[in-house]
Subunit: 207 residues, 2 copies
DNA sequence: GTCTATAGTTCGATAGAC
DNA sequence: GTCTATCGAACTATAGAC
């Protein structure tokens, strides 16, 4: 009998606690001692299951980004390359999967981890993210280029970068994305998406 | 004879090294040992001059933000409250002083420190920044509210937050704000300001 | 005001019993 | 696969000589 049906395997408990503590205290700020205590596992378990703290950090990213980027790519495929594609549709393919994630359990904590990774400027981490998920940004940028043919390559990169910055900032929960009690979570998510899409589309399209 | 005319006082050397190392490795990641070694001063000097690492961090912010926010407020006063004020003018009052700073010596490193502070979500640091510099954001928001009277308070906060996120991201040097060799630095700064202002104005004004 | 020396913690990682 | 125990290194902070 495999262990895959266990309620919460040690490995998953570590990943969950790591996500929360990395979000709150950063990669250097969260120690393996705090982390294993929060997960209710032994200190030595991290090195047994992951090999090192650095490889644990990578797994925290992999677990969420594999799913997030698959959904983004699937959503992009549905609209990309068509003659009547709109900027708003492409932005929705990028934004909606991230909002779904950030409303799913500890997903919002992961968005904060992601925002930290952006601020870190750490070469090792940047290379890992670029190697594994760089193709997603390239696909989206290519589609924006098709829809905004009057923009120079430089100008386009500029705007995509600004949009990415605004969205990362917003979805790391820094802002006021808080649901009022009189709307359902589904409606709120829809409204948030419309906010972000409208703002980003205006910036991308400006003359 | 006072020590104020010394070429580079110990205190300033520490602040300079701290700014650089906090930008590159974060507040937890940069140790007092690395920091004092880089500054060429003794390990004990930090506690003598600043009392603790936390108070050193605050001084790193104070040194730059006092000047940055004075310039922002001065620029805002010149255009605020007039009948023909434009969104672009208010954005320029916010952005241009930051660009001047980021092209002045190690100023761009400070913008990275600032971006880290945003990502940290640390309550103590947030309170320090809010207590000392919160009035600046409130003044700018009030002027935006005057120029965009059709927006609800909630909608306005939303957009100002997104603009702040995009600009912080951009000015932390993550993007491609790199001068080509065939333009002077002054011209490049002007072009960058126009980029950011146009993008932000489009987002703020969108229906 | 600057130094050496060190106290007192905490860190990541591993060896080895079970 | 999980535990205890511990190594060696790093950390912040301080005491006290100069």
């Amino acid at each position: 009998m495999s262990a895959s049906h266990a309620a919460l395997p040690t490995k998953e408990r570590i990943l969950g606690a790591a996500e929360e503590l990395f979000a709150r205290h950063g990669f250097e700020g969260a120690s393996l001692r705090q982390l294993t205590a929060a997960a209710g596992v032994n200190l030595a378990a991290v090195n047994y299951h992951f090999g090192s703290k650095d490889r644990l950090i990578e797994e925290v990213f992999r677990r969420r980004l594999d799913q997030l980027n698959s959904r983004r790519m699937a959503a992009l495929q549905k609209v990309a390359g068509e003659p009547d594609t709109t900027i708003e549709q492409v932005l929705a393919a990028f934004i909606v999967p991230a909002l779904e994630l950030s409303h799913d359990g500890n997903g919002s904590l992961f968005m904060r981890v992601l925002a930290r990774a952006f601020a870190e400027h750490d070469d090792t981490l940047r290379k890992f993210l670029s190697d594994n998920y760089g193709h997603v940004m390239r696909q989206f940028t290519a589609e924006f280029a098709r829809l905004l043919p009057h923009l120079s390559k430089e100008e386009l990169y500029w705007r995509v970068d600004l949009v990415t910055g605004a969205l990362t900032h917003a979805m790391s929960g820094f802002g006021m994305i808080q649901r009022k009690s009189d709307v359902t979570e589904h409606v709120h998510r829809e409204q948030t998406a419309q906010h972000l899409i409208r703002f980003a589309a205006a910036g991308l399209k400006s003359p």
